[in-house]
């Protein structure tokens, strides 16, 4: 029976791809919803507050309440707006953000965690993510209002500038990996036994800064600088259309984190993947789920509300169940890649929130100066140095170059 099903899916790869896309979409929506809660909680802790506490224990059901609220709100279209474009803009934003996940390898391809491994993966990412800018420009323009237009202008200038820097940073990785395919880039890091962040530290720093700028996050959130532009390009949006923009922003955060992890942090590879006496690290997922269960149990004991107590016990039970499941060796081997991938992405997402809690916003001219006068020249220099080093290290070329120089 299972054999037949697997055979059928193998023959009809479109069905398998559709199933994978639906799973990735659902998981991403969940992550994005809880990312908002995580951001509010982490920021609150950084500012010695509690954050959302009312809906569910520790505000755990807050994302559901927020989603319902935004769905039920009135959808307002401004009188002077270009209606069709006004309705289209947030959809462009969110489609651009979600589509790129098609080429991200969440785990090893032989375990089925890749939707599609295409030859031009990296170019596909650059192409589709550059479409997200239209959501912002068109949303700002079609609102027919001053603040959104100014926000959109700022944002398009910022995104175009930092796209160049991000592209230059990516070329360094490309030179090392010798391929544009995301899967090949990770496999190359595995073969080399070292993550690209150590081979291309300059490129990584440039990419990180450009990624923060491209997602319009602090300290580069000028397109929606609330003290100057109310809310920037989405000032006139309300209800669910606003929610679409909001989701697109957080999805883009997850996206740039996933790209950074794949390009620089070894993708699905475990830390020290080739050091065999550290193989006990394979059981980290078990420890993580056990730890989460214990924390939730401790919290539920202190919780005075009976309903919430029951809910927390159920959550803890789920954690323990998952811990047992991932301890089974075949399951453990299967989820290995995706666990490390998600863990690394979470580190980046936490860093994004951390920046928002700690950095002051850049002035606009400073932003442009950093982009054009620092990041782009450094990115170009990085490419030249990388290319020369790689050329020198590949033996036949080195001999040819030596004869050319010293004959």
């Amino acid at each position: 029976m299972l054999q037949n099903v697997l055979q059928f899916l193998n023959d009809h790869y479109l069905i398998l791809a559709t199933i994978k896309i639906l799973i990735v979409f659902a998981v991403l929506l969940g992550i994005v919803a809880y990312l908002v809660l995580m951001e509010r909680k982490v920021l609150a802790f950084m500012q010695a507050r509690l954050g959302p506490m009312r809906v569910g224990p520790w505000g755990l059901l807050q994302p559901i309440a927020d989603g319902l609220k935004l769905l039920l709100k009135e959808d307002i279209v401004p009188a002077g707006a270009d209606k069709f474009i006004f309705l289209l803009a947030p959809v462009i934003s969110i489609i651009a953000a979600f589509t790129v996940f098609a080429v991200i390898p969440f785990g090893p391809p032989d375990k089925g965690f890749v939707i599609s491994d295409i030859n031009i993966g990296l170019l596909f990412i650059l192409a589709v993510s550059s479409l997200g800018i239209y959501g912002i420009i068109l949303g700002g323009w079609s609102s027919n209002s001053h603040y959104p237009l100014l926000g959109a202008l700022r944002s398009s200038a910022q995104l175009v500038s930092y796209e160049v820097a991000a592209g230059l940073a990516v070329i360094g990785v490309l030179l090392c990996a010798n391929s544009l395919s995301m899967v090949e880039i990770v496999k190359n890091q595995q073969a080399a036994g070292i993550w690209n962040v150590f081979r291309q530290p300059v490129a990584f720093i440039i990419y990180l800064i450009a990624a923060v700028a491209e997602t319009n996050r602090n300290p580069f959130d000028l397109p929606e600088a609330e003290s100057e532009l109310t809310a920037g390009f989405h000032t006139e949006y309300s209800g669910f259309r606003f929610a679409l923009y909001f989701m697109a922003e957080y999805t883009a955060m997850v996206l740039v984190s996933a790209i950074a992890v794949t390009l620089f942090w070894g993708g699905w590879l475990r830390p020290f993947a080739s050091v065999h006496w550290l193989n006990f690290l394979d059981y980290t997922p078990v420890v993580v789920f056990l730890g989460a269960g214990v924390v939730v149990i401790l919290g539920s004991i202190k919780n005075p509300v009976p309903g919430e107590k029951l809910f927390l016990f159920a959550v803890a039970g789920l954690c323990f169940f998952l811990a047992v499941v991932v301890a089974i060796p075949p399951v453990n081997a299967w989820i290995q890649g995706v666990f490390w991938f998600v863990a690394k992405v979470m580190v980046f997402l936490y860093a994004f929130i951390w920046y928002r809690g700690t950095f002051p916003r850049y002035r606009y001219d400073q932003l442009m100066n950093v982009g054009w006068r620092v990041m782009i020249p450094v990115g170009l220099a990085n490419i030249i140095v990388t290319a020369v080093v790689i050329y020198w290290w590949s033996k036949p070329h080195a001999a040819a170059a030596a004869t050319l120089l010293f004959r």
């Binding site: 270009d82 474009i85 295409i118 030859n119 031009i120 170019l123 596909f124 650059l126 192409a127 589709v128 550059s130 479409l131 800018i133 239209y134 420009i137 068109l138 700002g140 323009w141 237009l149 959109a152 202008l153 398009s156 200038a157 175009v160 796209e163 544009l180």
Partner: protein, 169 residues
């Protein structure tokens, strides 16, 4: 079969949206239709098994040039340009030129109709190393022409910057 149907759909989309580009009064709408045209052409590249050209088409034209065009259009007051009369006064000359061109193209198509074939897609094996093949062609086999072209573009860019700077002073 699937490829041919997709090809015709994409071509129709490209041509139809190209017509929309020149008939819209609102320049932003024109720009959006132009994006649809560029996307459809990108799709045709994909059918012809040229994924690298598809990606470059979208990165350069849709992600770069069109963003700049819309950026400029947004600063123009769309209301004024929408209310203005058509400002091309040589429509008679334009019409004659178009008719002559159409006749020429029609004649060429008529003459060549016997050998008229749709563009064939490359064999499946060519898909594998498409990007590498283009890289080898551009940076090894035809390195000098590429370098000359890029220097020309650089000169044009520096010239534009210089002219803009002089005007500001």
């Amino acid at each position: 079969m699937v490829a041919e149907v997709t090809f015709f759909i994409l071509s129709a989309l490209a041509l139809g949206s190209a017509v929309m580009v020149i008939t819209r009064r609102n320049p932003v709408h024109s720009a959006l239709w132009l994006i649809v045209t560029l996307f459809s052409v990108g799709g045709v590249f994909l059918i012809l098994r040229a994924p690298f050209l598809f990606a470059v088409q979208i990165i350069l034209y849709v992600g770069g040039i069109m963003v700049l065009i819309i950026f400029v259009i947004m600063l123009v007051s769309v209301d004024v340009s929408g209310r203005q009369q058509q400002f091309s006064r040589q429509w008679l000359v334009g019409l004659t030129t178009v008719l002559i061109l159409a006749a020429e193209l029609g004649y060429a198509l008529y003459r060549g109709s016997k050998g008229f074939l749709l563009a064939r897609s490359a064999p499946a094996a060519a898909l594998e190393n498409n990007t590498q093949a283009i890289g080898t062609a551009l940076y090894q086999n035809y390195m000098l022409p590429v370098e000359i072209a890029s220097i020309l573009l650089l000169v044009a860019m520096v010239g534009a910057v210089l002219m803009a700077k002089r005007k500001m002073e």
